[in-house]
């Protein structure tokens, strides 16, 4: 401490005006993490195995809570004010973006485990969350017009098995243009010397609440023609409720997670 004071004092009075320094940054690889798409069982007893889980996303950003009041439950009833804001010029509010991997991606969590999405740049800090945009399949992202994902946000395919019944399903999800998904869990202490990777995970089964993407979906009931195939997509009355349920869940942060591995 004393040496620091002496150094500061010396620079103060002899060097005049020194040089400001940017926050320490580190470049970390962001990869696809396929842990979250292993076979799982829904609350209706279906065992679901995914053969494809393609989602179009864009502009990954990583945020720190800063010094925003992180109070205990007992304090929540008290009368404090915690308004929040974004893009604030410089104060210590939470939700501040201090890491990013810009660009668009189509990720197939079922078949592209460990695929590198690129190198993200993060300022050293205690990360608590991440945000990204749900986009749609375009030629810029390598999705050709004949591709079933073209023009859509997500294409999830797989098999749901319950007893003797087996249903092959395809889910096509459309999200509003530029829909931002915020508050995706990302608990990590990143330092300037960090060398690990950031895994981007789709969690078909929420490991905390054990709520799956296909909770309350009765695949057999949706198979009107009993051919063992179900397509769940927008504007189809027979599957409208199922579509909305899956779409709602996919648009919450409960089924995504970023994991840092050193």
């Amino acid at each position: 401490m004393m040496s620091r004071i002496a150094l500061a004092g010396a620079s103060l009075f002899w060097l005049g005006c020194g040089v400001a320094s940017e926050a320490p940054k580190v470049d970390l690889e962001v990869v696809v993490d396929d842990v979250g798409v292993a076979a799982f069982e829904t609350n209706l007893g279906y065992r679901v195995e995914l053969s494809g889980a393609r989602v179009a996303v864009a502009d990954l950003v990583f945020t720190v809570a800063g010094e925003v009041h992180t109070i205990a439950l007992w304090q929540r009833a008290s009368d404090i004010l915690v308004p929040t804001a974004h893009a604030h010029p410089g104060h210590s509010q939470g939700g501040e973006v201090t890491g990013e991997l810009p660009g668009g991606f189509v990720i197939d969590w079922a078949n592209e485990g460990d695929r590198s999405l690129g190198t993200g740049t993060l300022i050293a800090g205690s990360y608590t969350a991440a945000n990204f945009v749900l986009s749609s399949g375009t030629e810029e992202l390598g999705v050709m017009p004949q591709d079933p994902l073209y023009g859509h946000t997500a294409l999830i395919e797989g098999t749901a098995i319950k007893g003797q019944d087996t249903v092959n399903f395809t889910v096509v999800i459309d999200s509003p243009e530029g829909r931002e998904l915020i508050g995706v869990p990302f608990e990590a202490e990143i330092t300037a010397s960090s060398t690990g990777t950031i895994g981007f995970r789709l969690e078909a089964l929420d490991p905390i609440e054990l709520d799956s993407l296909f909770a309350d979906i009765d695949f057999v009931a949706l198979d009107d023609d009993l051919d063992g195939n179900v397509v769940i997509e927008t504007d189809v009355a027979a599957v409208e409720d199922a579509y909305n349920e899956i779409r709602r869940k996919l648009q919450t942060h409960d089924h995504f997670r970023f994991v840092y591995t050193e």
């Binding site: 500061a8 004092g9 620079s11 103060l12 009075f13 060097l15 005049g16 005006c17 020194g18 400001a20 320094s21 940017e22 926050a23 940054k25 950003v61 945020t63 720190v64 809570a65 010094e67 925003v68 009041h69 992180t70 109070i71 304090q75 929540r76 008290s78 009368d79 404090i80 004010l81 915690v82 308004p83 929040t84 804001a85 974004h86 893009a87 604030h88 010029p89 410089g90 104060h91 210590s92 509010q93 939470g94 939700g95 501040e96 973006v97 201090t98 890491g99 990013e100 810009p102 740049t121 300022i123 050293a124 800090g125 205690s126 608590t128 969350a129 931002e180 915020i182 508050g183 869990p185």
Partner: protein, 777 residues
């Protein structure tokens, strides 16, 4: 016509007498009857004022009549009234440890008019503190009075610049001269005033819920030449300190120093095409506090987009003055300024030559600031009783158009925004002091402040077209306080002040953007305060102080506005009722003066805030943050080897951190230092040299600012009626990074931008000079 005028004058006088009579009746009801029993046979009271060598009134000085038990103390303006004194000549005795004792013979004839008595400080130290007893306000180890002499020893563009004389205080101008400063003190980033209270002769100046920033301070209303002194109190330790005094407070006291009284005019020309005229008048009689002052300024400013045009008026007029009724005076002030704003610059753009260090990205940034103030002051000193009243009404209009982030939020239209604030504040206050016994006095007070306001904020596009409306809020805010304290002074060597104030806060707003939805709320802040002063030996004094400061919630917190939650983890509380932010502060210090020409002061301080909050410029509400604590110390050494030469140096070290994370509180320097040389020679030659600097500031996200050193100088010559003064800022011409910030920006329209924060700078002034030639008759 003249008869009409005379009639009007007589009518005004009569009205004043009637008003005073009503006041007297009120006072009679309030005070014990025996104290104000009127004795027709009694001699007229002895009325006067005690002033220091600068002409400023000296508060709390004991005035007694030799050979009699009659005595009193001067009030906050240095005035006194001695009643019940026998007719005929008498001798007044002035005693106070900080001043040389004075005996003054007053003849029968001289008693008919107010008596003016000048006192000389025991030593002319700029950091001198009344070690024992100042009846007006208790002292702490860090209390400071900035004298008129100190003010003229350093360059001052405006009233804010006077505060650069305060050890440990850092001022940042992240606009141009017309915009409010950013205040940094003792580990606080008070932003535009959210944690630093400023008063003008006791009147609140902080704008409670300004659309630009909470507690916004714009001292353009105050003409520097009309300031007789500034009383600075670091920390919230005295009962007079109100809302926003979490880090400290400053009370600007208007008046013209004795040497500058009379007709006065000055013209200033500066290297930035600055032209300023000042004119003033004040009567030379020392007991007369009336004055008029006017200034008009044009300045192109340094670099780009820092021009300003401003006019300001300050004046005070004594409406009535009579021993029985006390003194009634009127203070009037008004100002209007139109100015340009440079905004911030990205450091990487400056380094790559995209913009110059003193340039701007957006030449349409500008502001207008207007304010008018009328205040009535009444004071009455009757033996053991002292009553002061004031009432004020004001109008405030502030318009700003700025863009700090470029095209981050709106890549096409840009993030430019226009803000408008209109406020009609008014209030009144009363303080009453009763000397219970010789060693004990009671200090009480009541006050009320009401602001009626309206505020808007719009998005403004590239062609200055309105592209969106962000805020349209109207409402009122009220704060009423009561305070009570005891001052105990059992001996000359010890003084204890203990008390508390309670502030009741009410805010009601209507959000016009939310279909007129209304919101309101109330809260209470109880703030205990205590100080102890102990003169251990003649050369050593010890001080201790504890106090609680507070900041009321801003008005927008009561509206239905929800800025939305982006990227916050789930353990963050996302709503609740607005609450008062409070700080608990402790200070212990000492002053050592082994010889008359040497003075050393040492103070250590601690401030704890259980729930920190920071005003967010974007959402316009306070963000509740984790608790913070500030620990630090300051040392101030001053020597006066010759009667005309004074040297001083100071260092302040503070460790300000959030208690949970251990991270430093951003923006506030952890080490500041200064050195000052003041020369005031009897030949008329005078000069000042000031070097102030600070260690790299901690910025958000782990970034750090640059080391700063700024050297300013003055050189002047005063000869009878002639005043010549040269002011030079930044003598060594360093590239001063006045403001440093760390946030995301993009100043290229239509281009996808990184969201990562980067360093931004607001340039301080390069070397520049101003020459003032003035006359006093």
């Amino acid at each position: 016509m003249s008869r009409d005028r005379c009639s009007a004058t007589r009518y005004s006088s009569r009205a004043a007498v009637v008003a005073l009579h009503m006041l007297a009746c009120a006072v009679t009801l309030m005070f014990p009857a025996e104290s104000y029993a009127f004795h027709p046979e009694a001699a007229p009271p002895v009325v006067g004022q005690v002033v220091d060598t600068s002409g400023a009134g000296v508060a709390g000085v004991a005035v007694s009549v030799e050979g009699s038990k009659r005595h009193t103390h001067t009030d906050s303006t240095g005035s006194f009234v001695l009643t019940g004194v026998a007719r005929g000549p008498l001798t007044l005795s002035i005693s106070d440890p900080a001043f040389e004792p004075v005996r003054r013979r007053v003849t029968r004839e001289q008693r008919r008019v107010p008596v003016s008595i000048q006192v000389t400080r025991v030593e002319q130290n700029p950091y001198s503190v009344t070690v024992v007893s100042s009846r007006d306000s208790p002292q702490t180890a860090s209390s400071k009075r900035i004298s008129a002499r100190e003010m003229t020893a350093a360059p001052r563009r405006n009233a804010e610049d006077i505060l650069r004389q305060v050890p440990g205080m850092t001022l940042v101008q992240h606009g141009s001269e017309g915009k409010g400063h950013q205040f940094l003190l003792r580990g606080f980033d008070a932003i535009h005033g959210s944690d630093f209270e400023v008063t003008l002769d006791g009147l609140p100046i902080n704008e409670w819920s300004n659309v630009h920033a909470q507690g916004y301070l714009d001292l353009g209303l105050i003409i520097p030449e009309a300031v007789s002194s500034v009383e600075v109190q670091k920390g919230p330790f005295t009962l007079t300190q109100g809302a926003f005094a979490m880090a400290g407070s400053a009370d600007y006291r208007l008046g013209i120093v004795q040497s500058e009284r009379g007709w006065r005019a000055a013209y200033t020309a500066g290297t930035t095409n600055r032209h300023r005229v000042f004119a003033g008048f004040s009567r030379k009689a020392a007991e007369d506090r009336d004055f008029l002052a006017f200034e008009a300024t044009h300045d192109d400013g340094f670099g780009q987009n820092r021009g300003i045009d401003r006019m300001t008026f300050n004046g005070r007029l004594t409406l009535a003055k009579a021993p029985r009724f006390g003194e009634l005076s009127l203070l009037a002030a008004g100002s209007y300024a139109a100015f340009e704003l440079p905004g911030t610059l990205r450091n990487d753009d400056v380094e790559q030559g995209v913009v110059g260090f003193y340039d701007t990205y957006d030449e349409t940034q500008q502001g207008q600031s207007g304010r008018a103030l009328l205040a009535l002051f009444h004071r009455l000193d009757r033996g053991r009783h002292n009553l002061s009243l004031h009432a004020y009404a004001s109008y405030r209009d502030l318009r700003l158009r700025e863009n700090f982030t470029g095209f981050v939020i709106d890549p096409e239209n840009g993030d430019r925004r226009a803000q408008l604030q209109r406020t009609w504040p008014f209030g009144l206050s009363a303080t009453y002091m009763l000397q219970l016994v010789k060693t004990l006095s009671l200090h009480t007070g009541l006050g009320l402040r009401v602001d009626q306001f309206g505020q808007t904020e719009h998005n403004v596009g590239r062609d200055l077209q309105v592209t969106g409306e962000r805020r349209r809020l109207v409402g009122h805010q009220l704060i009423a306080h009561t305070k009570a304290g005891l001052q105990w002074q059992p001996a000359r060597q010890i003084r204890v002040d203990v008390g508390a104030r309670a502030d009741v806060i009410h805010v009601g707003v209507t959000d016009k953007l939310a279909r007129g939805s209304r919101g309101s709320g109330a809260s209470v802040a109880v703030s205990p305060r205590a100080t102890v002063q102990l003169q251990v030996v003649k050369s050593l004094g010890i001080f201790a102080a504890y106090g609680r400061g507070f900041r009321p919630p801003e008005a927008r917190a009561y509206s239905t506005f929800d800025p939305g939650q982006a990227g916050l983890s789930e353990d963050v509380y996302d709503g609740g009722e607005p609450a008062v932010t409070v700080s608990d502060a402790l200070e212990v210090g000492t002053r050592w003066r082994p010889v008359r020409w040497f003075d050393a002061r040492l103070a250590s301080f601690a401030t704890l805030i259980a729930r920190e909050s920071v005003y967010d410029h974007v959402s316009g509400v306070s963000l509740e943050l984790n608790g913070s604590r500030r620990l630090g110390g300051e040392v101030i050494i001053s020597v006066r080897p010759l009667s005309w030469l004074q040297l001083s140096t100071d260092f302040t070290l503070v460790d300000a951190r959030f208690t949970q994370s251990g991270n430093r509180v951003p923006f506030a320097p952890w080490l500041t230092g200064g050195g000052r040389v003041t020369i005031t020679h009897r030949s008329g030659f005078r000069s000042g040299l000031r070097a102030i600097g600070f260690a790299p500031r901690p910025l958000p996200h782990g970034a750090t600012g640059a080391t700063q050193l700024r050297v300013d100088a003055t050189l002047g010559y005063y000869y009878r009626w002639l005043r010549i003064n040269l002011e030079v800022e930044n003598v060594i011409n360093r590239k001063l990074r006045d403001g440093e910030y760390h946030y995301a920006s993009n100043f290229v329209p239509g281009q996808a931008a990184s969201e990562l924060p980067v360093l931004h700078t607001v340039a301080g002034p390069p070397v520049n000079a101003r020459l003032t030639v003035g006359v006093v008759f």
